[in-house]
Symmetry: C2
Subunit: 490 residues, 2 copies
């Protein structure tokens, strides 16, 4: 028998970890902090990748690939960048192993020490701008609009599957522009792409905003972000887009000749989302029975289970299902018919429930006789018995409905768990209950640090569409023009 799941109410964190294992999404590897993404989890990531990649290409970007290794000295070229990234990285110091002379096994060959250590990329600004230097001479070479799908490594001490791992998969866009305005527009455009993807495909509503100075990417002039609310009321930064100003152009001496032949430093952006989105997806929709997937990202959208006693019954049901499979294929809907004889229907129901398959069909002898099929939706767990004739159209519509319902449900939760607070006392009293808090802040690092220290909450972002509102900082009483979004976060 399957063990009872830990519920969200019992232990949210344990619920998450169990779900990742039970839905067969990923697991810890023996290598500290590194995960194995299992086929079912990877299939969801592939769907995300395809959707994002199409959007990047539609907005004029091309993919390319830059080296995994970054010479140590490159990291130091941009002063704040090295502060942000040097602390937690994997360092390659040697390039050969050899047999130990005492026969005890293989050891690092001390003769094969690198002159300069190589860092396994934590992000690729430095290695990429070192290339762009040679690619850019004139305004005609701009803009450069490149994206890279890659693995990166940040040596995290405390790791959680998908949310924070030493190695993770991501995409990183790196663009170069002739003007400041164009670069800002690019950074904003990519934020919009991320937000649209999050809502349309992940059914996950997000706030679009700007990070405060202390939460900015190391080396950025401005960091835009999308922030989502998880079911426990905590915020999750789901994607960032950085306006890098001329910082990397100056660090790597990248100039272009404008139309008048005058040399100018190039303007830059970078933007990225990672396998962390898998964690966001899980924690936005899933329930105590397991994963809940929006149809647009589900590797299997519809599963059908036959219920039978005799071979002849199975045969007839299988014929019907083959027919349906064809119809769904035409509609581009992925369908699995599970007639595995080793497992009972009840076991299969639980299995596909835990894996978040949006629509489940079941057909037994009586259904067959009456021209019916049972249909269950994963999001609401509603079941109904409908005519088999025309079920493919019903399914198509139901998948759209599930997609919409998941987004609406998440929006409603976000709305209900977002509140305005005007006093720091009230904030401190409520912050442990989770949710987003719209509060006035005086704009100083000191106040921001104090809030973080006293409550563990951070300023998630200053919303791009924040309304101007004369107020006073809830901590210091100093004047403030906008409310910011505060929350505890992953």
């Amino acid at each position: 028998m399957a063990q009872k799941n830990t519920t969200r109410a019992e232990d949210y964190s344990k619920w998450y970890n169990e779900l990742v294992y039970k839905a067969d999404l990923a697991e810890h590897s023996d290598v500290r902090g590194c995960m194995v993404i299992k086929p079912y989890g990877y299939a969801i990531w592939e769907k995300m990748k395809d959707e994002l990649d199409r959007r990047f290409k539609e907005t004029g970007h091309s993919n390319a690939y830059f080296p995994l290794f970054i010479p140590k000295s490159y990291l130091s070229k941009e002063a704040s960048h090295v502060e942000g990234f040097a602390k937690e990285c994997a360092v390659v110091t040697h390039y050969r192993l050899k047999n130990a002379e005492d026969g005890s096994g293989i050891i690092v060959d001390p003769a094969a020490k690198l002159e300069e250590e190589l860092i396994v990329r934590p992000t690729s600004e430095t290695i990429i701008w070192n290339s762009y230097k040679n690619w850019i001479q004139s305004y005609r070479d701009l803009p450069i609009l490149i994206n890279q799908w890659a693995n990166v490594v940040r040596w995290e001490m405390r790791t959680r599957l998908f949310l924070r791992t030493a190695e993770f998969l991501w995409q990183e866009g790196h663009t170069a522009h002739a003007t400041k305005g164009e670069a800002i527009q690019e950074a904003e455009q990519m934020l919009d792409v991320y937000a649209e993807f999050a809502e349309t495909c992940m059914a996950m509503p997000v706030l679009k905003g700007r990070k405060t100075e202390s939460e900015r990417f190391a080396g950025a002039e401005d960091t835009y972000c999308i922030e989502a609310m998880m079911q426990d009321g905590k915020a999750l930064q789901a994607g960032t887009s950085h306006f890098l100003g001329q910082n990397f152009a100056k660090a790597f001496d990248v100039k272009y000749a404008d139309k008048e032949g005058k040399l100018e430093y190039v303007w830059a952006t970078s933007w990225g989302v990672s396998t962390r989105l898998m964690g966001a997806l899980i924690m936005t929709h899933s329930d105590d029975e397991g994963l809940v997937l929006p149809p647009k990202l589900a590797p299997i959208q519809v599963v059908a289970v036959p219920i039978y006693k005799t071979e002849s019954e199975l045969e007839q049901i299988s014929l019907k299902m083959a027919e349906l499979g064809q119809q769904l294929k035409v509609k581009g809907i992925s369908f699995k018919y599970d007639k595995d004889d080793n497992k009972r229907p009840g076991w299969k129901f639980a299995e596909y429930e835990s894996k978040g398959v949006p629509v489940r069909l079941a057909m037994g002898p009586r259904d067959l006789e009456n021209g019916k099929v049972e249909i269950a939706r994963r999001d609401t767990k509603e079941k109904s018995v409908i005519d088999f004739e025309g079920v493919e159209d019903y399914i198509e519509q139901l998948l759209n409905e599930i997609q919409t319902n998941l987004l609406d449900r998440a929006k409603k939760r976000q709305f209900e768990n977002t509140q305005r607070v005007d006093s720091y006392e009230e904030f401190k009293a409520k912050i442990d209950g989770g949710g987003f808090f719209l509060a006035h802040w005086d704009g100083t690092k000191e106040t921001e640090a104090l809030i973080k220290e006293e409550t563990q909450a951070t300023i998630r972002c200053i919303e791009l569409d924040a309304e101007q509102e004369n107020g006073v900082c809830m901590v210091t009483g100093k004047p403030s023009m906008y409310r910011v979004v505060m929350a505890k976060a992953y």
Copy 2:
């Protein structure tokens, strides 16, 4: 003015390097042995990936992702594997940098030394079988059919763009089976997939064969390979598929319970192709003017260049081209209309020629008047003027014709440069001229090593469909039942 290209006849190796740069495919990075794959090169690789990935999925495989790092001790678990891969690898020894106390910059933090060094994967058998150990208990868990798209690192001393780089991109399939027969069938199936892909998409004929014992993958019982002939007559190993026997199952203690409950070691395969295929593609078809691409892998299949004096002429040509673009889009043919005003038509012609665009159109005022268009094919460099009406059908057919012609041409070259030799003297006299040599070999490592030492030629493979033929080894005169394929190789 553009510099004159080095020709193949003048210096084949220089021709190759220049072409990779001029066609904007890739370049050397500052990181020793690592390359930057530029957008145009990466777009070709993406097409290869898509084609291969579809074939892997059609044959029942799923993608997954395993850690970049392999604990040093894992490599040692399979005895011949460590011999093959320990010598040339990037070793991570530390996980943190810090500011030097003397303010001289950042240094490796000696306090952050790893207890066990991590190897950047040169291939993933060990880390994957360490996971499979936990995934496999019973025959019901088999087969496992997984593929991974990843970067790998082998610290090569002499590198060449695409052909041999320290870091490269590849896919590695790793499968687990209950029986020996099934594993062998899988290894053979994947070899067939590679061969079919090479011929159908790359228009590159290949020999399918088995490696000799000394050329086998470290840890394999049998290595199957596809071997292609480059234009200089040298062989290039384009893909390998390994029957691993129970070697990794034994090394990682992976057993399954069969239907009777008896514990048995699992059987394994692994198979891979890499960005090396880009080198193979280039050297199979390209000419002294630059890259020649088979239409199925061309990021731009058709380019059109307007030739005009007045704005009104440009406008009319552009209208026609927009119309054509629509028609080609419907057919799934990628089309670029280059009306960049900064470059002359002649410059553009040379540019697209060097980038291997299969079909080039040009339209001037007279063509417009006569309802004609000039069409040039990259493979034969033939030009003709044809009716604009219906040109989309003409193009569709022409692309197929080019694809076929490239394969035929390569097949013909391979056929003409393959010969039987029966005396070692003759072999030694002819081997520097390049090509494949079918010769009898006595099956011993000693003879194989002698041939390699004296001629630099290797036994590329024993063809799977080699005919039995009683003969004698050309070196030792000992009996031999089959001819093997010998050549100098990349």
